[in-house]
Structures are given as C-alpha cells and as structure tokens.
Symmetry: D2
Subunit: 307 residues, 4 copies
C-alpha cells in the first residue's frame, strides 16, 4: 500500500467520522470529563515498518480511561503471570455494560474478564500490592514512546471523588475474596491509570507494537512477549468494546479497546496500529466518530482480520 494512499484515505475517514459526532454525547458521570469539547476528532496511524500518519486533532490530549486496562493487563501478565491473573478474573465476554455488578453475585465471584471495570480493578489490585504506580507509568511511557506522559490530576481527583460505583465494585470483589489489596490502594492505582493524559499518536505507537508481535517498530526491541500479546489481543476482540464488541468485530474486525475519554485503539496484525479520538460517545461508551473512522479505514485499507 502506498503512503500517499493511506494519507488520503485517512483524511476521507476523518471527514466521514465527523458526520457522526452529533449522534454522540460527552461522558458526564465524571465531572471533569464533561468539560471537554464534543467536536474534537483526530486519528493517528503508525505502521509496523515505522511510518506515521495523522489527521485532525491528533495532538489534542485526552485521558486514556479504559484503554489503560490493556496496558495494566500486559504489565500484570508480564510481571505477575497469567496463572495468578486468571484465578482472579475470567476470560469471557460478559454481555453486560462495562460497569455492571450483577454477574459478581449471580454467576461468579470473579469478574468475567479483565477489560470490564470489575476485572480491571481486580488486576489493578494485584499490581498495586506489588508495584509502585511509577513503575507502571514507566512501562506506559515506554510502549507509547513518550517520556512526558503524566496523570491528569484534575481528572484523577474528579474520578476519585465521583467513583461511587467503582468503590461498590471494589468492596464486592473484596467481599468475594477476589480483591486482596486494600480497596483505596487498588482504586487509587485504577483511577490514576485511567487519568493518564495521552494523544492519538502515543497510543498509535503502542498499538503498532501490539501489531508488530511486541517489537518496537523503530528499534525492533521486543517490549512485550508474544504469549502475553496473544491473550491481550484475543480479549480485545471478544471484550474490547464492552457490550458492543460483537458488532465491532463484524463491522470493523480489529482487536480494539475503547475508553470513555473518547479514544479507541485498534490494530491490524503485522500491519499497523491506529488510535482515534472523539469524545462524543454512543450508549455503550464508544466514540461515535472514532468508531466510524475505524470502520471506514477497515473497509478502504482492507484491515478486517477476515477480509
């Protein structure tokens, strides 16, 4: 595929996506998030051979939110091990919204998977009991390729103050014997990772590593091990867009992870990493414009894993 073609398609995708902004709404359950301009829309691509493409508000910073769940999962798999992690969380899509608490009482003490809130809090607890947040932050900076990534303290404080439902989930996990860490310690780690400020270029860099078998696309250094990647990318397919994952798999066909900050990270195996940003969200919590950009790119650049 020629570079000129990717650039052109990317600009068209952005214009296509812009038409869907009006269908979405800014997340309001975290006060600080509700202040964002709904009309931002940006996208970055980093290919596995090291080229990069951008369009729109790709330099605009936003908070990672649930996209960070993939990095904490990788960190936990690398440092603590799948054998420990999967005694605390399952591997199955839940069929329920991202913040649902119901299955923890009716089905299993364990969260369905590490990409819903309950599962990510359980993983955060495992990490927080063994590592400082700064160690995790170093890993985030490494895979995103930028040393200046920091927590947005306003968002962090806002999440921490507003996080009643996540506190409820954390205490239920503790009651179920899943969360062994102190609730506030686990939640502090969780809210911090959700509040990391990044842009689409940062996450496209990270996504390119996922697409590239764990190797940095420029240096070729192996940053993430292959068996870990296999787990994380498979979970991104089945659970990455919450209760919209199945439809996304059909329409877009890339491992992906969304966040209520408006970002969606996606990747085409052995080809490229992508990140879109558009804070107007659909009912599942996924960026409306970003979703459309990814679907457009998937079709035009033939990125669907079953195309």
């Amino acid at each position: 595929m020629k570079s000129s073609n990717i650039s052109e398609v990317l600009n068209d995708a952005l214009e296509h996506g812009r038409k869907y902004i009006s269908e979405g709404n800014i997340a309001t359950y975290i006060p600080e998030l509700s202040k964002v301009d709904k009309n931002f829309l940006g996208v970055s691509i980093v290919t596995t051979d090291g080229k990069e493409y951008h369009a729109g508000d790709w330099q605009q910073e936003f908070t990672m939110q649930s996209i960070s769940k993939t990095i904490s999962l990788i960190f936990a798999l690398e440092h603590i091990g799948a054998d420990v992690i999967f005694t605390k969380v399952g591997m199955e899509p839940s069929g329920d919204p991202f913040n649902s608490i119901v299955k923890l009482e009716t089905k299993s003490a364990m969260p369905s998977n590490p990409l819903i809130n309950a599962g990510a809090i359980a993983v955060a607890g495992l990490i927080a009991d063994r590592y400082e947040f700064e160690e995790f932050l170093r890993f985030v900076r490494l895979v995103c390729g930028r040393d200046t990534i920091v927590v947005d303290e306003n968002v962090y404080n806002s999440e921490n103050g507003a996080g009643k439902l996540n506190r409820s989930i954390a205490y239920l996990l503790q009651s179920n014997g899943v969360l062994e860490a102190d609730v506030e310690k686990a939640l502090s780690f969780y809210f911090k990772m959700c509040s990391l400020n990044i842009n689409t270029f940062d996450l496209a860099n990270y996504a390119a590593i996922l697409a590239n078998g764990g190797k940095d696309v420029r240096s070729g250094i192996q940053l993430i091990n292959k068996p870990v990647l296999q787990i994380v990318k498979s979970l991104m397919v089945t659970c990455g867009l919450y209760d919209g994952s199945g439809e996304f798999a059909i329409r877009v066909g890339m491992p992906a992870k969304s966040g209520v900050g408006g970002g969606i990270l996606a990747l085409a195996q052995n080809n490229m990493g992508i990140c879109v940003f558009g804070p107007a969200l659909d009912v599942h919590g996924n960026s409306t414009g970003g979703y459309q950009i990814l679907e457009y790119l998937s079709k035009e650049l033939d990125l669907h894993y079953f195309s």
Copy 2:
C-alpha cells in the same frame, strides 16, 4: 508447511486429545445422543490448496447439532439478507449458557446472537417461512461436498420429543414478536438441521471454504459471498463456543463452532479448514478431546490468528 509435517502433527494431536476424553461426558439431554460411544475421536483437515488429512474416527458419522447454526446463518444472510436477520437477532456474546432464556426477558426481546439456541431458532423461523428444508439441505450438501448427507431420523425424533426448553424459548420469542413463523414449523426446521448426519471430513470441506474466502478449494467456485463470511466468522470468534468462547479465542485463536454431538469446526484464514469429533463434552458443551486437538494444532502449526 510440508504435508508430511501436517500428517505427523495430526497424529500427535489425536494422541494428545485422547488423554482428555475421560474428563468429559456424553450429552444426555437428548436421549438418542446418550447412546454414542464416548471414546470416538477423529479429526480432518482440508487445506485451501485442496489437500486433505485425516486421523482417528474421521469416518464416523455424528449429528451436526449447533454447528449447523453457522450454515443456516449463511443461508439466511445469502437469501434473506443481513438487514432482515439483524432486526431479529443481535451480534453480541451473551455471557450465558447456550440454552439460556433470561436475557430475553431482562435485556432485550431479541436473542443476543444467532449462535445461541434462541438466536438460531429465530433464524430457523425466518428460513422456514420462506424455504423448504430440502433447499437448505441442498446447500448443506454443496458446502460439505457430499450428496448423501441426510437427517438422522432417530436423533430428530428424539430432539423433537425432548425439546421442551427449545419450545419454551420459541414461544417466548413469538410472544416477544421476534419469531413470526409458527413455533412447530420453526422448531421442526431447527431440529432437522441439528440432526444432519455428517463426519469430520464433510465439515472440514465446509470449513475450508470458510477459510478460502468462500470459494470451493478444488473447483474455485464462489459458494459463499465475502461480506457474509465476514459476519459469520466474526460471530464464530466471539460466540462460537458459547460461554467458553473467550477462553477458546485466547488458547486456540481460530473462528470455530461447536455442537453437542461432539463436533467442533474451526478454520485458519487462507490456510485450512479443520473438524474434530469427540462426543465427551465439558460443562459448556464443547468436546474435551476435540478442544485439546485444536489447541495442539494451533500451537504446532502456528494457526492462532494473533500468533
């Protein structure tokens, strides 16, 4: 990959799988199925370049059961259209067992997806209202490459007699306005397609077409359209092994569909179709030995879509 290698790996996979037969149990809820010998184990591979490999009881016939849901879905997508189908069923994994009825009351009148019982009955109703079963049977024979495939009347009668829960689901769908067909007509179609007698070679032929972009691997004739395949294979990833789909995606990483007759169909994109048969089932209704064979093949032949 050399043919000699595939043959060897296939035999090793069979022996590996055999160790897991004792962990499973024959399905007992359909009386006729409970008579099957638990120790059968067979596997067939058909590559997209037309080679075939077999091991174990690959000539032993068994009933297709839920694997037929992928063929009826393809038939419906080709002849009735995705726009109609997806007003009656969703695209999301349910997080619940294959025969669950709960979400039809609590979440949505529509079944979560076409690969759980409720969804497949809805699709069967759409077809049964428009086509004779014989037309569908011709399509099954076509994609499996064998003209002599027929309904096992003993199993059909057994399923029809024992199918209280499926009747309950069908009437609930009718009450919800999802099933417009007559309940008995829809169920008759559904039980017949589940009762089709096939062997692993038949289904490996069909799986090879799925892997080969819809073209017959020998004649090159396009039997299934690409957009239809994209839908069906994506659903096989997220929903193909019921509430074991997420773990299968991680451990095996192939679009697949299991049936309580003991079969599991899987495929490696642009590479090969596979079918295993082993009637001893795990708690989710998936063949224990078959699952292990697929995991072994995935690792040894590097078939995981994210390997």
Copy 3:
C-alpha cells in the same frame, strides 16, 4: 357496625374510586379483554353474618382471570394435598412481575409461589392430570353461590390464541420437571379457569367464606378446611397483588387477589368478603379504581388487619 353505615361508606368509596379510573388502562395483551368499557366500576360486600351490600356495576360480568388462582389452589390443596403441591411450587413472593420467567432459570426450577402465572400453571397441571374441568367448575359454583357460572368462550379462545408467554412458561416448567401434565392440557385448564364469567357479588360470596373460616355464611356448612384457608390467605397477603403486594399490605391490609379482568377480591377476617371490579389497570395489572375503593373501605370501616 350498622348496615346503614356500610351502605353509605360503600357509595362514597365508589365515588372516590371513580376518580382513579383515568389513571389506568385496559389490559390489551388478550384481544378480547381490550374490548371492555374502561369506565365500569362496581363493588359488593357480603358479611360473615350474611348481609350483602352493592354499589355501581356490581351485576356486570367480567372474567375471573388470576383471581381463579386462589380457587384452583384451594381445590388442589383439598384434593391433592399441600405435601404434593409444595414440591412443585414455592411459598415466597417473587419480587418480579406476574408473568416473569427469569427466576425459573436463575433461582429455582420451581415457581416462586402458586399465585404468579408459572405457579398457577403448575397447579393447573396437577389438577388437570387428575380431574375434569367440570369438577373444578362445580366447586367454583359452590363457593360463589351461583349455579350458572360458565366459561366465556370468546375470552377463552382469545387467551388460548394469544397465550405465547404462558406456553413458554409451561414448556420451561416441563423442561424443569415441574410440570408433568401435557402442556396443552394444563394450559387449557388454566385458560378456562381464567375465563370464568362472574360478577362482584359472586366473588364477594366466595370471599365471605374465606373470611368466615371456610363456612358458608348463610348455611354454615364448612366448604373449605381451615388449614387450607390459612395457606391461601397468607399467600394472598404476601403475593396476592403481584409486585404490588407489599404496598397493598401496608395501605389496605387485607388478604386479596387481583385479576387483569379488573376484579380484586379481598376479605376482612371474621368480618366480611369484598369484591371490586374496574377494568382500568395500573402497571402491576391491578384495578386502579378498585384498589382505591378497597383502601377507602379499609380506612373507613377499620378493616386493616393491623389497625
């Protein structure tokens, strides 16, 4: 209490209730029921010393619907026995709507209690396997004190035709091993008992027997045994108005049973039987005007069991 007083209060109660007709709606899920005039409102009282009082449309016939569940339960307890009945249904309020199916999968194979649809169908199955409907009908006529009570064939046919959800429940009960009778046989019995045509006087006669320790208020003949009554009246308190039972217990405080035909039967222990009729229903399926009449009577005549 003086008779003149009851008459006066009854008329005031009727006028009070009339104000709430506009808040309710006719049941539409059974086509034949939807034809009824929403503005009917009537009430009858029969005291345990044999006096009777009427107001409004007390002579207007309507179908018994769920009120019949109390008579079938009494019939089953008398003829089959509590030991058998309560291996098929529970004794607990369900907290869910009258036609809910969810707990049959998630909580227990047995319906929560005999006064929700699932429980009443289970009881109907037990009776239908042992008795002709005519024997049950004779008992209904006996306790209502009128030999000419018959099934409304139009309503019966309408219910039978529209009864998808009840069929779904019945097949689920059969699948769960709760319903041993043939589904159509059980449902035919169930729909017939729901379609019995009565007026408020008929049911006030029956309610007076419940209030009078099982004895006919005029002849003094024991028609229902005391231990049976204790079960049925207790269930009427905890489950008689579906998921509105708790509030009714607080506000009105009488054992009662409502039906979507618009009737509510209630009783004040050792004092009187009451029946109201008003086909405009609230969201729980209870007559809006009838509910208000009962609350008015409870307050003015001091009928609350904890007054």
Copy 4:
C-alpha cells in the same frame, strides 16, 4: 387464656425447638458472632395486659442485628416521615437473599424494602444525617424498657471490619442517588444498631408495644403512633424473614423480624409480644430452634392471624 397454660406451652415449645438446633449453623461471616455457643435457646412473652413469661436462656444477651431494622424504621417514620422514607426505599418483598445487590442494578435504584440490608442502610443514612446515634439509642431503650442497653463494641468492631458487602451496597446506593449521607457515617450507624446487646425479655417488651397499638403495656403511654405501626407490621409480614417470609407467614402467621444474632421477634395483634433466641441459623439466616418455637406457640396458643 390462663397464665398457667402459657407457661406450660412455653416450656413445651422450648423443648420442641431444642430438637432443631442441630439443623442450624452459627453465622460465621462476622468473626465475633461465630464465637457464640450454638446451643443457647430462650424465649420470652409479654402480653398486652402486662404479664410476662420466660423459658430457657432468656437472660442471655445477644446482638439485635437485623431486628434493629424495625426500630430504626419506626424512628425514621416518626421523626423524618413516610413521605421521605419511601422516596428512598420501596415496600415490596425482593424474593432475594437479605444481602443481595442485584435488583439495585437490574430493577430499581431503590432498595426493595427497608428490611433488607440495602434498605436498612438507606434508612440508617437518613437518620445518621439528622440525629446522633445516642438519640436513637434512647428510643431503643424506651421501647425495650431497659436503660442499660448498649452497643457490644467487640461485635461492632467485628462487623465494621468484616462489612465489605455492606460497604459495596452503600457505595452502590450512593452511586444510585439513594444514599445521600456519607457512606462511613451511614454504615457506622447501621453497624452500631446491629450490635446492640439485648435479651429476649427486652425484645418481647418491644414486641408487646407493637401488639398493643403502640402503647406501653404497663403505663399505657403511646410510644409509637398507629399509622407507623401499620406500615412496620405489614412489612414484617411480607419481608420480615427475608426470602423465608412467605413460608413463615403460612406456617406461623405473625408479623416478625429475624436477625443473624439468632433472635426472632414476633407478635400476635392485641395479644402478646414474643422474642426467641437461638443462634443456630437456617440457610435464610433465621434461627432454626426459634422458628420452631414460634410455630409451636402459634399452633398451641392459636396465634396465627388467619386461624
């Protein structure tokens, strides 16, 4: 009824109840409760004409646990008002265990009723925002007729430390907008009221007031208003023994409230208050021996409200 008769029946009831101790188990989820001797069994009766009867370990102190929910509800109804209370909790039995969280997500933001944990925490929050615990304690002492009732600090600390699930419920209520008070403030109040040390005589005194229309049985002073009593006693019937309330209503037929400390309070309208104590519990959390004593008394003394 002659006094000699009550004494005799009471002793027989105790011996009858003793046979059921072995069927129950001590509550273990609060560490301090698990230390209690399983074999305690005691009962007290206070009649509305001021007589008192005792048997067994009636002087043994235990913690009130959920029985306190009736007193906090009365306190809230008297001081804050039903109009406020019932915007925060419902009036319906939940059909679920006492500590269930599910309906708060699936059915309503509001707890089903004030006698399950979620509802009682909501009520505790309303009180804690307006009153000191000492004011509530004074009311407890008044209705129990003993000035020396205090919080068992060991149990309080144990509950507070072990109360993960109640914290989860409280944060979910806060997230739902039901709990406006600070979570720790509400829970501190809640755990304190549950940890009040009393004996069966104390609670029989209180139950006698409930039976006596709110008047102290000795002084005749009105301590609780009648409309409040009507609410509380009706709720005790439909929700007093959690998901065992329906069966208790049938078998025993008295407004009652159980606690996992082993107490059950019950009353026969205009007749007597009763309290039993036996820390061996059934699966619903109700004293096995105590339940049997109450059923025995109900039959022998004709206390069932529908006898």
